[in-house]
Structures are given as structure tokens and as C-alpha cells.
Symmetry: C2
Subunit: 402 residues, 2 copies
Amino acid sequence: MNTSTAILQVAMILIAARVFGELASYLHIPAVIGEIFAGVILGPSLIGYIQPEGLIQVLAEIGIILLLFQVGLETDIGELARSGYKSTIVAIGGFVLPFVACFALSRYAFGLDLLVSLMAAGTMTATSIGITMRTLTDLGRAQSREGRIVLGAAVLDDILGVLLLAILYDFMSSGSIDIAGAWRILLFMLAFFLVAPTVAKSISHVIRSREQNSDIPGMVPTTIVSMVLFLAWLSHELGIPELLGGFATGLALSRRFFLPFGVALQAQPEFSNRVQEQMKPIIQLFTPIFFATVGLSLDLSSLDWSSPFFWIFSTSMAVVAIATKIAGAFGLRESLARRAIVGMSMVPRGEVGLVFAELGRQTGLFDPQTFAAMVIVIAYSTIFTPVWLRHFYRRFGHLLEE
Amino acid sequence: MNTSTAILQVAMILIAARVFGELASYLHIPAVIGEIFAGVILGPSLIGYIQPEGLIQVLAEIGIILLLFQVGLETDIGELARSGYKSTIVAIGGFVLPFVACFALSRYAFGLDLLVSLMAAGTMTATSIGITMRTLTDLGRAQSREGRIVLGAAVLDDILGVLLLAILYDFMSSGSIDIAGAWRILLFMLAFFLVAPTVAKSISHVIRSREQNSDIPGMVPTTIVSMVLFLAWLSHELGIPELLGGFATGLALSRRFFLPFGVALQAQPEFSNRVQEQMKPIIQLFTPIFFATVGLSLDLSSLDWSSPFFWIFSTSMAVVAIATKIAGAFGLRESLARRAIVGMSMVPRGEVGLVFAELGRQTGLFDPQTFAAMVIVIAYSTIFTPVWLRHFYRRFGHLLEE
């Protein structure tokens, strides 16, 4: 593909995501659905003009990393810590319940193989931080009490999902479960979340002091973006999802960041504001590319729409996966409305689910029908959750006033 | 190459360009040289970690398109039109003189083939708008009288260069010169520069009115970037360099834009300001990637440094190419200092020169030594001009007060 075509594709994705986002917004549907739909139209499902690969995939990955950077930037780490206990309950509930129920369904109701069932259950576990947080942001609820619980739970969920994936992957290749390997990954994650924000915070002090002496414009965009991308790469190297690197960097640069053990790096609220202001257009530019790419990846044309197995399996999987994710939040000691909204926010599966499904397909574990069913359940949970959430907020939002 | 590696490469380019840019600035060398040098280090010349291809090339292309967009955005079209006559003189002088002199040198002093000589002469004709305008911007002289003359001349020069390339390319493949084809390309360019800004201006009115009703953030970055990229693609399709599409869009959105024939679209200074403010971080993010990629493309390790032909040919070419470019500005009726500075500003060859050289190499017209000589002359003119300009301004800048 030559440079000129690539440039046209980027332009097409941006404009289609904007047009369908506006259209969705006009129809009172969250904009993110419109952006995903733009990808469905441009991608293999319909026109087949753009494939979710190469340049587009890298830009999309940068988009999700930057979105999580923004989520981190706007996070009040004290509040997150205070909701940590609740988030942990939701994360474990929303991880264990779907995993057990979906495994049982695949293994005993549909008689799938052990490994296939484990993989299918794994596909249904991890909540999509990106879609959930974008929806809550669009609704103006990202920084609400339930928003913080969901964010914490989704982050933990992603970590659990990736841990599970690593274990299953090991299981598939070696035939045995490697507990030591799983512990190693968990340890890396903990270390990363202690070290990365500290490093990012220190670097940001250097950036800030250099910025005042620099004659060359553009210090903030270039250095912040490269730091975010570098930590994202590093997290990937450590076996942690890249987007968590973006999140950790954002946390470090947020207005209310403090370091553990009271390390003396003062807050820089005025620098945080400048970072936020200059990064905003860049984040807004890249984020829609990610959501359109989710749409590109949902190849609806590859599905065999006439297979009864496909319909029964995917419908029952969807019901179980959605019901158990919502049920996972009912261990909380909160009002019914808030438990319901937290549970619903946890429903969308996205990136990590697609990674599971894709790996299942590549290893031959999922036959085309099973793969299709997985994709359709992910699509369903991804596409409709924002609609429910919006309706629920409109109807019961008054019950959630703090 | 996987996504994670690509992300690391982007991060490395951004950080290296910034570090060497700052270093150059510290040494009182223009920052753009530092950014090119960062590319030389990361690229095949030295470490060989990043190749100027694929993702990086697309990002670089977006960078130069956006830089030209910014140049257009800051251009006062009335002033440009008033300097049009002077720019034309400089462009023609700076095109014809190097072409004739370099052709004569290659053909009669070094006895190269007719086509090789034509191609070598062509390589030496087109001024690099990007490097010139970036240098003048760094020096705060982009909007000065000489800055406008140089911009107009560089744009015309690029057009003439591309026209020449199209003719030579035709000549190489058919063995005859196709005058009709050359006229067609010229016509496309004229039509594009009349139509593109008008279209862009009309679209910007739509964007502005939609922006006020939209609930989704990020209207300006996504729509403006996609419009710029789309017009860049369109210009490429018409056989015009992509970066001119960016320039035309920038012109249309500039504060002082007016349409020919007095078409009634009011100026939108407040919208122009918002566009400029929100686009700035995006432009600042992408531009260094372009300059670093120029450095990546200068593969100094492929040169045979011991060949006498290489040294004599490249040195005499460099002297002739630089002297004739400066001489091209002496047809102006301006002070000696201003004529000198305009001439010196026209010296850097860049993108278009590299396209000529690359095409010569691919068609087998340039043997490795000739190709290397071309690259080294381009590198020399590119790398040292900003240094001369800066010194000249420091020494004689007081003679240029308007």
C-alpha cells in the first residue's frame, strides 16, 4: 500500500467516524456506537475498503493508549484508592461469575472440548475499559462514584483477563498449567504500577523545567506522547496490556497524583492543566480511529447466519455473559440503582475479548462457527451497553445523586 | 513488524528528534538540523534501527502536509499575491540557472549520458519548502517580506520541479517529450489552486455551524485533519505534490483569506483562531517525524567514501547548485542583503530532490556513485543552509528592517 492510499484511508476513517458519531448523537445513541458502525461499514463486513491491520492498527492502538492516558489524567488517585475495595469486589465478581457460567454452558450444555470451553469462557471475562469509560465520559459520569468503581474494576478485570490469557496460552502450548509463570506476570504488573507513575512523574519534572528554557515550540506534545508510547511499549514487553501503560502515565501527570510512601515530588497543577489542554486535540484525533477499528475487526460478513448452532449458542452465551457480569456487581453494598449501573457498565467486552477470540481462531481451537459466535457476543455487548446505560441514567439518574 | 514495535519506533523518533533539536538549539544551530540528525543516527546511516518506510513514512508525510497547512494558515494571501511578481522572478531564476548549469556540468565536464545529465540537473532544481519555511519560522522571519517572496518562489519552484519530473519520466518511458501531458499537469495545478481553497472554505463553514450544535468533543481536530489529508490525497491523484494540498487547505482557513471574484464567504477570524490553537499541538507532534525521516532517508553508509569521482563530482555539483540558486534571486529589485537572503533561503533541496534521485536510482539511470553524489549534495544543501541563514541574519539582519 502506498503512502497516498494510507493517507486517504486515515482521512476516510476520521470523517466516517465523525459523521456516524454525529448521526448517532442526533438519534440519542452514544457517539461511540456511531464510530464503531463507521468501521463496520468501511471494513470487511460491508465495503471492505479498509482492513484492521498495519498503519490503521497502530494508529488505533495509539488511540486507545492515549484514551487511557486521558482517563488516568482525569483520575483522582485518592478517590480511586478509596473505591479500591469496591472495585475489587466488582472485578472479582464480574470475572469469576462469567468465567464459571460460560465455561459450564460451553462444556456441559454444548459439549465443547475442555480447552475450547476454557477459551470461550476466557473470551467472556474482560470488560472493555475503552468503551465503558468513553460511554461514561460521553454521559458526563466518568468522575462519579460509580464511574470510579467501574474504572478500578475494569482495570483489575483487564489484568485478570490478561493473566488468564497468559495461563491458557501456556496451557495450550505445554499441556500443563504453569503457576510460576502466572505469578511472574502478576508481579510484573504490580511492579509496573508502582514504578511507572514514579518514573513518569520524575520525567515530567524534567520536561517542565526544560520547557521554560526551550526556544523550540511543541515541547509538551512531543515529549508527553513519546513518554506515553514508551511506557505503553514497556508494559507490553512485561506482558501487560499496552493501554495500562497509557493509564499509568496519565495517573502520574494528573492534578491529584501523589506518590506512595510520601515521596516528595510536589503536585504541578498548572503544568497538569497545560498538558491536559495541549494533549486534548491529539487524543480527540486518535481516539475515534480506535473505535472505528473495533468496527473494522467485527467482520460480520464471515458469519454463517443460517446455522442453528450459531444462533442458539451465541444467544445463550450472550444472555449468560451479560447476566453474570451484571450479577458480579451485586456483591456491592450500594443502592440498587448504583449496583445495577455498575454491573451494566461492566458488560462491554472489547479489546481483550477480541484478542482471546482471535487467538482461539489462530490456534484452530475455535472453528468458524464458534469464532463467529464469540465475535457476535462481543459485538452485542459492545454495541448495546451504551444504549442501556444512557436510558438507565435518564430514567433512574436521580437516584444516584451523591 | 508488530504493533508494539511500531509504537516504540514512533516514541524513539519523537524523543530523539526532541533531544537533538534541543541540543542543536543549545549550540545555536537551527533545531531542524538536530531533528534531521536524529534520523541519521536512528536510520540506516548509523544504527539502522528504523527504516524510512511503512508507518514512519506515512506519519512523516502527514507531518509535512500539516506543516504546509500551518504555513498556509499563517499566510496572508493578499501579501502573497503582492509578492507574486517577485516570487515568480526568484522561482524562474532559481529553477532555470541550476538546471542549465548542472546539466552542462554533468554532460560536458563529466561526460554523463544525456538522460542521466537531465535527471541530475532536475534533482538540483526544486527548493525544499519544508526545510526553508521551518528555518525561517524558527528565526521568526516566515512572515517577513523576504519570507513571503521565498514562500511564493518555493511553491512555484516545487510546481516547476514536479512538472519537470513528469516530463522527464514521460521522456524516459516513451523516448519522446509529451508537451500535451505537461500542459495537462500544469492545468490541473491551476485548477486545484482555484478550486481547493474554495471547497475547503465552504466545508469549514459547515464544520463551524455543526460544531456549535455538537455534543461530541473533538470536532475541529478530526474534521480539519481529515479535510487536510483528503485534499492532500486529491492533489496527489491529480499529479501535484501532496504537501500542496495541505498548503491550499491552510490558505483557505487563514484569517485573511479572500476568494477570487469576491465570492461572498465572510472571514471567520474567531473560528480561524480556534482552528490554529487546536491544530498547533497536532502539527507540532507530526512535524519532527518528517524531519527525522529526511535524516532516515540519507543513508550515508551506502556511500563509497574513497571514490575520487564521487568527491570531485559531488563537490563541483554542490558549488554550482548552491551558487546558481543564490544567483537566481539576483534578478530581484531589492537591497543586496535581501537578495542574498532570498537566494540563500532557496538553496535547500529536500523532498522533491530526493524523489528525483530515488527515481533515477530505481530506473538504473544513476549508478551507485552518481546516486550517492546526488544524496550528498542534497544533504549538504539541506543541513548547512539553516546555519548560514542564522549567521547572516545575526550579522546583516539590521539591513532588512522594513
